[in-house]
Symmetry: C2
Subunit: 450 residues, 2 copies
């Protein structure tokens, strides 16, 4: 049975797909925070217009700049596999396909947007890119993307990850980046956080707030973000566009498309092109976002206006959120720790076009390890959430004795996350789930504010 | 400029290449150790005849069994890249190509032979594979290869690596293997080593000796080895056969083909097919094996009969060796720590058909890091030796103002070796080189014995 569906390098998509063209509704506009004592505290990250405009317009297909596509061709098209061994071990009539983004130089899908952003920023004269990173996948990708354009790269890395995953920092430094443990003494946000708690483990919100402050203080430097924003989702559709061609090669169309849910870019990347195709073909395909129980923004959050960063310096957007000060504890999948869901994904979920579910950390590692054993590829803890949902769909198909075509995005490898798997093998994985009271408390300021 | 030379999945070679068919001389036969007090101590690892025979015969092409080829197709053909950014940074007229084996599930070329061996052993009724591993690349590959055949896998892992690289063990355990720290209490060899030195860091020689003893004591279990033997070299020629097709796509033929030199399998894998093609075309191509200064078997060893394991239980073979009790110290490239060179590679080197050089560890990490920055791929410390020689060849081409086509094998990624790169970034890499006296002392028993 055929297991690999490869495309030739000249089949790398020439266009990204803009899902806004096919949505029968508008996405609520962002809103700047009100001035306090006559002072506007909103710091608006300045995006190159050439990058920003297509991501808010209605053009269905956006041409990928040739230099970006040439970079993609270094490792894209990524493979689409059929997980025949996993099917056999689950004894399921389902057909399980997965798109594998772990073959990229950075080891995950993040580099798809990092390269595009580096290109647009370099074109607009920027000399230095600043960002925050949690688990480190995004910082790794951005540091790699800056190098070919001769841009410097500075990464504020969440302290807990910086210390638990030292090799992510090594990788970024090898790519020429400056990696700063966050909270740091380099920014007012960082200094305040350290004054409040010298032992602060940091958070992605703080790291991003530091990066924004730092970038705003420097000429020719810009803050860049790795998920959530429209343009990031747009860049990631290269994943789904390829998978669409590859599923045609396989001669099947998915009944369900699954992605792990951080802020939404890998999920959008795999699902949006299938959303278009399913509409065109009346296929009735389900789109399933998978979150950790520890950070259930879609399944337990509220669809309200909220800030995208911890300190509330960014414009507010309408999204499913747990509140921008929500903290997820003891979660190995650092990339899924973000408090909100991308505005486009949130709006589609609100209209019933997308579905969501959540799993406990221990179940996720159990399924991730089972997948690794069967297929020989170790999923990143984030991607293991998608694996878990795919396994559950396959088990349902077995119960119901129905064929079901399942596609999921294996968004990255877990070779730098083996300590988390070691914890799983030792039986020490911890499941921490927020209480209703905690979520309500975290959401209250948003719901009560005008 | 084109940077990637991809082949379609149906171009995975159908045959391995047996270089013995094209050698104008015989390889000296192995010799069992003499009986001591009437007792033969030689333990002959039992190879399946179907695997062994083609590797000592004169048939030029050996068909790859279809199930093995199907496994190869899961990730092969691996990409061939032109390192255009590295060329630019070196400001060299040379064209630098590299074959990248790091895209395999195990992260290195080792799985090419692991899958073939698992197939042949399973066919011959074996239920359990036993091996020793140093750095862990081989143990990882074998543990992955056993799973599809339902075979158990037991890996004796050198204690120093077991402790310094705990995640290699995690990866093997995730693949269902039993991983035993060596020296262990499970074998006579291990118990003796621990009696002699309770704090023994272990060695690949001891680990292999333990694995052989352990396998011999169990029914339906066999000891398997990851490099050096003829059949292993044969299986790795799939690398060079693909590279040959890919260099044709690129429209060039290499002036020099480079591989890191452990026992010789990745070096043979990339060079042997080019040796054939260069003969056919009178191309005058050089074949360059690269060793660490810390373990200079080819550049400073002797071509004599020696054991392949530490305890002298295996048959002796004629090879370039530093003596089977030679110990290389403070070397991050654990895969290059072996005391000898494969008999076929040794014989070809002796006849002047192959060339060899060696580098200091600090230079190797400097070049490995420079390559990673330029090309976005972190080389395994072993592979970084090939990178270093390629950079030197490119620098020579710049001095001599000549075009030169360089091909090297990037045999694996270094994502599980980032601690060694961290040591490099901190300026703490140590260079330990054996003295002439040490090498002479280690070789003396071999040269003085009949």
């Amino acid at each position: 049975m055929r297991q690999v569906f490869d495309l030739e390098a000249d089949r790398v998509p020439t266009h990204w797909y803009n899902v806004l063209a096919d949505l029968p509704f508008e996405i609520p506009a962002p809103r700047s925070a009100p001035a306090v004592n006559g002072e506007r505290k909103t710091l608006n990250p300045q995006l190159p217009l050439s990058m920003y405009r297509p991501s808010i317009g209605r053009d269905r297909f956006i041409e990928i700049p040739e230099p970006v596509r040439a970079e993609y061709q270094r490792w894209r098209p990524t493979p689409l596999y059929r997980a025949t061994r996993l099917e056999k071990e689950l004894d399921t009539p389902a057909h399980i396909y997965f798109k594998y983004e772990g073959t990229s130089p950075s080891g995950s899908h993040k580099i798809n947007t990092a390269l595009a952003q580096a290109y647009y920023y370099a074109q607009s004269g920027v000399k230095e890119m600043i960002t925050g990173t949690g688990a480190g996948q995004w910082g790794t990708a951005l540091s790699m993307a800056c190098h070919p354009y001769g841009m410097e790269c500075t990464v504020f890395m969440v302290r807990s990850s910086y210390r638990q995953k030292p090799y992510r920092g090594t990788l970024m430094r090898m790519n020429g980046a400056r990696v700063i443990e966050s909270p740091s003494m380099e920014t007012e946000v960082g200094r305040a956080a350290l004054r409040a708690d010298p032992d602060s483990p940091g958070s992605l919100g703080i790291a991003n707030a530091e990066a924004i402050e730092y970038a705003n203080a420097r000429k020719e430097a810009r803050f860049s973000i790795g998920s959530g924003e429209n343009h990031v989702l747009l860049h990631q559709t290269v994943i789904g566009e390829e998978a669409l061609l590859q599923m045609r090669l396989a001669g099947e169309f998915p009944d369900v498309v699954i992605g792990a849910m951080g802020a939404g870019s890998n999920f959008a990347g795999i699902t949006f092109p299938f959303y278009r195709a399913a509409r065109e073909e009346n296929a009735g395909t389900r789109f399933l976002a998978v979150e950790p129980d520890a950070c259930p923004k879609m399944t337990r959050g509220r669809y309200v206006m909220d800030y995208t960063d911890y300190s509330g310096m960014t414009p507010m957007v309408k999204m499913y959120t747990l509140g921008h000060r929500f903290t997820a504890y003891h979660i190995h999948a650092g990339g899924l720790r973000y408090h909100g869901a991308a505005p486009i994904v949130s709006a589609m979920y609100d209209k019933g076009l997308m579905d969501a579910t959540s799993y406990s950390q221990s179940r996720v590692f159990e399924c991730g390890a089972a997948f690794a054993r069967a297929e020989g590829l170790v999923p990143a803890p984030e991607s293991a959430h998608a694996v878990t949902a795919a396994i559950d769909e396959a088990l349902k198909a077995r119960e119901e004795r129905t064929e079901r075509v399942i596609l999921f995005n294996l968004s990255g490898h877990g070779l730098l996350d083996l300590s988390a798997y070691e914890t799983h093998l030792a039986g020490d994985t911890v499941d921490v789930v927020p209480t209703d009271e905690q979520i309500q408390a975290s959401l209250r300021p948003l719901i009560e504010s005008p």
